[in-house]
Symmetry: C2
Subunit: 396 residues, 2 copies
């Protein structure tokens, strides 16, 4: 049978990294820095198990249908959590989602008609691009550097494209791990006001900080009238991925519309997981846990970095991450990272070439390295292999 699919499917791109995934899969005993998983060893298993026990102890009503918008005590707890980060948000302005991916998707769904424009960083988060393209939107990248988008290019593109929204990951971005400066955050917000354009602030990694003394103000905290910024985050990195619980907050009018469309999309996210998360936040010191994660992941990152330092800085450069999960490495101008990956996999180590993360003008000599999933010991072994491969490349 010849299925007659919707127009939006014809433009839909599958994840551009599936090709590299296949290369890695073919390798043997590969230590892979290609993924984006947190480390199992640091999961708060026991606390989470106790939290689920609390749900069952609270009676069978807990297993019934819940609220579309999300379990109210959890939304209150999320409000308290965000207030520590200068974000004031009432429970009625918070929607619980199946990870922050669903938040990105639902925002796209209410905002994007075919041909509408979204402005993004370049490179940017792949799965967000997938969501935008699934609604036939056009993605236009804004030029920038390690401090964030260039205000001049942003303004020019706001004027030219009248985008529906600007998508940014300002704190420890994926893939390149950068942190926007305060000045650039302020400039972005001012331009959003001037051109009356929404910002979708994606903050999955903000909790994973290596410099607790530094503060990175979320854009939504700068948006005092609460009119121009939608903010999404998740418990996938700070608690565990398996509960698939994220949230979005922002202007009340938009949160209400998102809640309506969430009803059509899946009625509600797992309410048993939401209740467990509420008990976890009540009974477990998640702040201390997150500080522990920051300390540990910083050690992972430094182990990884120590190996890169053995190489010629003229052909291997990177900016030390201040948090998050990724180290973004620039190789010699002539290097094609995809070709390099094949050699690396032969030596038993893998990374993700940076090119697929670019909307346009891909820099083929970039690679993304995840330092959270592997243990420090695995990182050491994997990096010894990678240094050999990169050293070889430098000599060629």
């Amino acid at each position: 049978m010849d299925y007659r699919f919707a127009d939006r499917v014809k433009q839909f791109k599958t994840s551009a990294i599936s090709e590299t995934t296949e290369i890695i899969r073919r390798g043997k005993n590969v230590i892979s820095f290609a993924g984006g998983f947190p480390n199992n060893q640091y999961f708060p298993d026991e606390a989470l198990q106790r939290a689920f026990e609390q749900v069952f102890a609270s009676g069978s009503g807990a297993l019934q249908y819940g609220m579309i918008q999300g379990y109210l005590p959890l939304r209150e707890a999320i409000g308290v959590k965000m207030s520590k980060n200068e974000i004031a948000s009432k429970p009625e302005d918070i929607l619980v989602t199946t990870g922050s991916q669903q938040a990105i998707d639902l925002v796209s769904r209410i905002m994007l008609s075919a041909g509408d424009v979204v402005l993004t960083e370049n490179p940017t988060f792949l799965a967000a691009l997938q969501a935008f393209s699934s609604y036939e939107a056009k993605v236009v990248p804004v030029e920038g550097d390690q401090d964030g988008m260039f205000p001049e290019d942003l303004e020019e593109k706001l004027q030219r494209y009248k985008p529906k929204f600007i998508y940014v990951v300002p704190t420890f971005s994926n893939p390149d791990g950068k942190v926007w400066s305060e000045a650039r955050r302020q400039a972005l917000l001012e331009l959003a006001y001037r051109y009356d354009t929404l910002i979708l602030e994606d903050d999955p990694y903000g909790d994973i900080q290596f410099r607790p003394e530094e503060r990175y103000t979320p854009l939504i905290a700068l948006d005092r009238q609460r009119t121009h910024v939608l903010y999404t985050s998740t418990f996938s990195k700070s608690v565990v991925p398996a509960i698939r619980t994220g949230w979005i907050t922002g202007p009340g009018q938009i949160i209400r519309l998102l809640t309506q469309i969430k009803e059509a999309a899946d009625l509600m996210s797992s309410s048993i997981d939401q209740q467990a998360l509420y008990y976890l936040l009540r009974d477990f010191d998640l702040d201390a846990h997150v500080r522990m994660l920051g300390t540990r992941y910083r050690e992972h990152m430094q182990t990884m970095q120590s190996y890169l330092k053995q190489l010629d800085p003229a052909t291997v450069s990177w900016i030390e991450p201040k948090g998050g999960m990724f180290l973004w490495v620039k190789l010699g101008e002539q290097v094609d990272a995809t070709a390099l990956l094949a050699k690396a996999v032969e030596q038993g180590v893998a990374f993700i070439p940076g090119a697929p993360f670019y909307v346009e003008n891909p820099q083929r000599n970039t690679i993304r390295m995840n330092f959270t999933q592997m243990s420090p010991q695995e990182i050491a072994t994997g990096m010894e292999r990678l240094v050999k491969v990169l050293g070889q490349e430098q000599r060629e």
Copy 2:
């Protein structure tokens, strides 16, 4: 700020029953038959708690990200479950979703462009209409009776509208609780073949049977080439709603596309819930549990029905449900069920007027009564009140 939403949002209808929900909320001590919840008292709490313990006992890897398509052992178990219902389906042709609502939504997303037509029963499931309208589809109802759609009208509309798919709930439908006859199922499938049109078979209630000796063959089991039927079901009714776990199966090509779009939509459903469900299916006799539910809910239904029998059959009629969760009652021609609801709520009892479930030509003298959520004792008390209100109406 004046938000510039997508076109699809402008056509989006919120649930047409929110008005009646408000009427019911204003009442005091109301016994409500308006909802669509299963009964808490029958939940397999303990078995589910043990299942979650199994997940935690299996190690921290269980709390990591899982597969987009769903936990493989669960998909295998779903395959085994469906095979008891004559549905042969391989794990690779099953996608786990956040309830069957997400399955309906994802099918709509890959199939429906603005203006595309979906054929439905009339009345039909409201939240499916919401999903269709959220993609700017046009819903065209097909005429039918208690045995299913009329093949003549279906064929005429297949010719005239060239619909993208036909949406049906052939076994214990919501709202009207009917079961399609074998002949009508066969006729539907033959017309789907003749006009090369997909069928979306929604089967959330099929497990809840009151006549275990009768068999209602799913449409997908009749579709031997596995080309024209997508089948979705859920564990919300047979296990508990809070785990929000459903699935969809059908032609492999479509399941693969749905899996790609699921990645953009929310990456994956709660994987801790999926694993718990797998252990539940492994260690708990869900078949026996579901038979118990059928026995109990049949008693609920009969209690409800015994009160209706006290009324004048000329002005209160219904067809005894063979399963599911709803009793669909037709009142005297002159009765407006919404006006009646206000009087009923004053007497401490509620139902849902049938009109909002119609795509067109609403029959204002119909009501939908849920018999699962309330206990038999509550049903007796509520029905005494309702009989009083209906008796009053008959005399007027």
